[in-house]
Amino acid sequence: MTRLFMALWLALAGVAPLSLVTAISAYAVQPDEVLDDPDLEARARELSRGLRCMVCRNESIDESNAELARDMRLLVRERLVAGDSDQEVVEFIVDRYGEYALLKPTTGGANWLLWAAGPLMMLLALGVGFSYLRTRQSATETGPGQLSDEEKAKLSKILED
């Protein structure tokens, strides 16, 4: 989880489990973890942002200061130094920790629905919207449900003001 989330969670739910509370304080990557090769380090940071700290509630290992997050950061850097590609590092982490560790879900299995939901909904909405606009274009001003004259007078008085 991000710290913001936890703070709000605490604020709103009024629950303060101590084990989680102690995890708050804010130094993610420590100076001694940084790799000498800036390119490798940049790749490590990028990968860390997509990996979840397993004991936190929605926080990447790049942001988290939990012990486990540090271990995972070191592991990522170890694999990179050993010459793994980004893809191989991610696979290594998933093998070890499960897909729960991926902040960016895969597209495999039922997850296609998650990824396709937005575009599909957009197409649907555009279709419905377009057909609605077509009916409005060809409609005539007078439809059913007309107001009575008295109501019209009342309405125009309100709208005039």
């Binding site: 913001l4 969670w9 629950v15 897909e99 997850n111 957009m122 909405a125």
Partner: protein, 658 residues
């Protein structure tokens, strides 16, 4: 004694709400004036009783009455007064009491300012509003009573979570709730209109100020929360896409859609059933947000199992109101015939597109938020949906929205010619494009995010300027300038809010594309450079605060030999709560922030220091303030004041654009 009176007032308010939810509804159905008229005093009584109850709880916190269990759990006698007060809503029970306080406040405001509503509509609105209050009063009294006494009061309290002891967060929930709960009134108007069986232009005009008010408060609340996260959490993030944030963001998106679609109802008597549906859904998402936060179901299925009573209760409230309202909608929506006729290219169509983009993007956020739960329950997969998903799935909709917004805003009602609407925007487009190209040329080999964001931001701001300028009509520049000041407030509100969105987009683009970070071990008086700035750690000391112990560093910030400021980043430890917090030190500037965080002492005598250079950071919240300001300008437009019966007739200077 006062605490008991508060408890009693709460129960009394519950009973008043029960009566108010039933009697006016029968009255409106039977056309009995007396029965309808009771809604108004009842709404006032409900609000005053709840306010008294809230006051009693506040009194218990302020006087540190440790015989009340809630005060013991969330306060401490040494805590500064402001946090004793904010502690009232810094917990589940108290925040729910604030929730109903605001709910009854909106009910009372509808009674105060609803002078020219038809009596049946007014009675129904107040009855529906009160039925929501009944549900939440019951929720508080039966599952989350804040007035429980302790049989053996302790000497002191357990302190409020230190992270909440911060001005940014102390006032973030009230604004957020004003927004969340404010949408209840739009919901009540929608359900009342469905019962009434009629939606007309006047309905659109009545519902719009309330939606605007809710949206303005949501905007401020979300902005405050984001700003707090930025300076308090220690690495300067501003948005994290986690369930609680999304819970407030979804109603915001729908409220934005609603306040645009109600314009179409008001001006053109079209999109009626869609607007009703939006009003229902917007409040529905407020309830879903409440459910997500209270039950903890999204964060962990186990958290839900630990305390299912509250979660199930809210789920029942959600099911009842959404199920009831949507059933009513299904039965009655077909009677809401649209009247306006307009061509495919028109302001109406542009607003339909706005609604599609906002509603679909809200849907994407919703799917992403609940997907972990769906995947676990249906497919037995334990997975995460984090920021990378939302960045990819949500951002494209905002890019499209930003790209078409200035064009749509320029279109006339009924029938537009694309060419004529586009022509005045050419300078704005050229300006935006040149800013983007310049940025792209200056940064080599980085992501396209920065230039795209700069284009959208500049396009929105300059487009808003062109829009407001075009409202002044034709003729000499001097005459048009003088007409600027006489434009309806709604015109200004529209331009300021749209420009504010542009400013926020500029800030996000600048921060995401050109932020620089530096992490290192620093020795005393050994200067180091970050993004052209020179920083030097001169001292670190232990300092005692009122209820915490601080480790404070002194960092001199300079540029090209000129001193800029001395920053004092802190690490605080709150002994009562046994909890550390980070207080970043930020040199705030118009174009950039320099953000310094102090870490742990190192074995060789140095300190871990983390420095960020954050271009345009403040523009994110500057834009948020502008958006809220735009909303307030719109609320203050005279046609709403007139609609509320508060002003006399006077000649109009122009036609409101919205």
């Amino acid at each position: 004694m006062i605490v008991e009176l508060g408890h009693f007032a709460l129960i009394l308010a519950f009973l008043v709400a029960c009566v108010q939810a039933v009697v006016p509804l029968i009255g409106a159905h039977q056309r009995w004036p007396g029965w309808m008229a009771m809604a108004e005093p009842a709404a006032n009584a409900q609000f005053m009783l709840t306010a008294f109850s809230f006051g009693a709880l506040t009194y218990a916190f302020v006087t540190s009455d440790f015989s009340v269990a809630l005060v013991v759990q969330n306060s401490h006698s040494l805590k500064p007064m402001i946090y004793k007060i904010s502690g009232v809503w810094g917990n589940h029970e108290g925040s729910m009491l604030l929730w109903v306080l605001i709910l009854t406040l909106f009910g009372a405001m509808a009674a105060w300012f609803g002078g020219n509503l038809p009596p049946t509509l007014k009675a129904r609105v107040l009855a529906v509003q009160s039925s929501v209050a009944v549900a939440f009063f019951a929720f508080i009294i039966f599952t989350s009573n804040p007035f429980i006494r302790m049989s053996v009061p302790p000497f002191d309290g357990q302190d409020l979570n230190p992270l909440l002891q911060d001005p940014g967060l102390a006032f973030h929930p009230p604004f957020l709730y004003l927004g969340y709960v404010g949408l209840s009134l739009a919901f009540s108007f929608a359900v009342a209109a469905l019962i009434e069986g009629r939606v007309d232009a006047a309905w659109g005009r009545w519902v719009r100020p309330w939606t605007l008010l809710a949206w303005v408060n949501l905007t401020i609340g979300i902005g405050l929360g984001s700003w707090w996260a930025y300076y308090e959490l220690g690495w300067g993030g501003f948005w994290f896409w986690d369930p609680v944030e999304n819970a407030s963001f979804m109603p915001w998106l729908l409220a934005a859609a609603l306040l645009h679609s109600s314009i179409v109802v008001e001006k053109r008597e079209s999109l009626k059933s869609w607007t009703i549906l939006l009003a229902i859904l917007a409040f529905g998402f407020s309830l879903i947000g409440t459910f997500i936060v209270r039950s903890g179901v999204i964060t962990s299925v186990h958290a839900f199992a630990n305390d299912p009573e509250r979660g199930v209760f809210i789920l029942m409230i959600l099911g009842f109101f959404m199920g009831g309202a949507l059933t009513l909608f299904a039965a009655r929506a077909s009677s809401m015939e649209a009247k306006g006729v307009f061509s495919l290219v028109s302001r109406e169509s542009a607003l339909v597109m706005n609604n599609i983009l906002l509603a679909v993007s809200c849907f994407v956020v919703f799917i992403g938020t609940i997907w972990p739960l769906v995947a676990e329950m249906l497919f037995d997969r334990k997975l995460s949906v984090g920021p990378p998903f939302f960045d990819m799935a949500f951002t494209p909709f905002m890019v499209v929205l930003g790209a078409i917004l200035p064009i749509g805003a320029m279109m006339p009602w009924k029938r537009a010619e694309l060419g004529r609407s586009l022509r005045p925007l050419i300078p704005a487009f050229v300006l935006a494009l040149s800013v983007a190209v310049l940025a792209f040329a200056m940064q080599t080999g980085r992501s396209a995010l920065g230039p795209v964001g700069l284009f959208l931001g500049t396009w929105l701001i300059s487009g808003a300027m062109v829009d407001v300028w075009s409202r002044t009509g034709r003729g000499a520049v001097a005459g048009r300038l003088s007409r600027l000041g006489r434009l309806p407030r709604a015109d200004w509100g529209k331009a300021v809010a749209h420009g504010g969105l542009g400013v926020t987009m500029l800030g996000i683009a600048g921060l995401l594309a050109w932020q620089q970070e530096d992490i290192r071990v620093v020795q005393f008086n050994e200067p180091f450079e970050v993004a052209g700035f020179t920083l030097s750690l001169t001292d670190v000391q232990r300092i005692e605060g009122p209820n915490y112990i601080s480790t404070m560093g002194w960092v001199d910030l300079s540029r090209d030999g000129r001193a800029i400021s001395t920053l004092t980043p802190e690490k605080r430890f709150y002994p009562v709560a046994q909890m550390p917090t980070t207080e970043a030190a930020i040199d705030i500037g118009f174009w950039r922030d320099v953000y310094v965080v102090i870490g742990d002492p190192q074995a060789n005598g140095g300190w871990a220091i983390r420095t960020y250079y954050k271009p345009l950071a403040n523009w994110i919240w500057g834009g948020t303030i502008l958006m809220a300001l735009g909303g307030m300008l719109s609320i203050s437009d005279r046609r709403f004041r007139v609609a509320a019966g508060a002003a006399r007739r006077e000649p109009t200077a122009g036609v409101p654009a919205e």
